[in-house]
Subunit: 185 residues, 2 copies
């Protein structure tokens, strides 16, 4: 019997199912991808984000962030990101190359209204994230809809690696209609 | 009693202890950091690597790679990387900004000799990693000392975030002698 990781369609389906599980399940490794950008001065950067949506039909994922965080400044300079997930249970690495649109203000007002109070606490810190402060707790969190931003990520390329007795690696690109191509791992 | 995450020195010590545990313990989250680079064309990239060494005295870490992997090509263009670890047990995020020196050939010959046979399998794949292939298993692995490279990473900046009832974030930079600075999280 063919296993899920032995076909291009099986790997692609597993990749999107993994992303969708991450959105729903708080303790799943796909819940907390690492998100890499390039700073305005050309330095690579990477940090944890929370995966908020994954839409296989559109080939898009999204995360939420503070509009005044350094990653937004980086994305204004270079609107590209790389998203990385390692799911040990499936021995599956996902890498997404995405183009990022920064949505905020009225555009995301309806979404803000649906975010629970405790989660709104994550948007709106004074001083803004990354500012030097004299003591560890010299900051205030006040939920601020103007600080809330959605990073809408259009997936351009999906790179999937399965580690097994024999490793398998494939890429799926938007330009090729997501048909898939095996790569040397 | 002061907790480890309440002081700059406590956070710094926890960061390096975590890195050192990752080197030794196969199932620790610091064993498999994500490693971000910038491609020669300016795109952010990120993938899993295995942490092989962590030296707090030198402020350096290292990983091993295939010399013919795309990440080495990226590092030849931009010898900078960002390394990311999320340790859920400690609720600790580590982010390292590093300058990378690519070591290979005679320089790493002694180290190659100490790598177990099964691990040598990771260096030397034909065609080289990332090459399109017709079928999933159309590649050969032959341990090749000429494909073995060490990425020696000199840490320039360490960014530590502890998520607790109240979040704490600090940065430690080589230029400041690693004294530490609290940041708004």
């Amino acid at each position: 019997m063919t296993k899920w990781f032995e076909t291009l369609s099986g790997l692609k389906a597993a990749a999107w199912a993994t992303l969708q599980t991450g959105v729903k399940q708080a303790d799943h490794p796909a819940r907390l991808p690492s998100f890499a950008t390039v700073s305005a001065t050309g330095y690579p950067e990477v940090r944890t984000v929370v995966l908020r949506a994954a839409d296989p039909a559109q080939g898009a994922v999204s995360v939420h962030t503070d509009l005044y965080s350094p990653k937004v400044a980086s994305l204004r300079a270079t609107p590209l990101a790389a998203i990385h997930i390692w799911d040990e249970t499936q021995a599956l690495q996902l890498r997404l190359s995405v183009e990022v649109t920064i949505q905020h203000g009225a555009e995301v007002g309806a979404l803000w209204g649906r975010i629970p109070d405790h989660a709104q606490q994550s948007y709106g810190v004074t001083p803004s994230p990354g500012t030097p402060i004299a003591n560890a707790l010299d900051y205030r969190k006040e939920p601020d809809p103007d600080s809330f931003a959605v990073l809408h990520c259009t997936v351009m390329r999906l790179d999937v690696v399965h580690l097994g007795d024999q490793h398998r690696r494939a890429e799926f690109t938007r330009d090729s209609g997501w048909v898939g191509q095996w790569l040397a791992p």
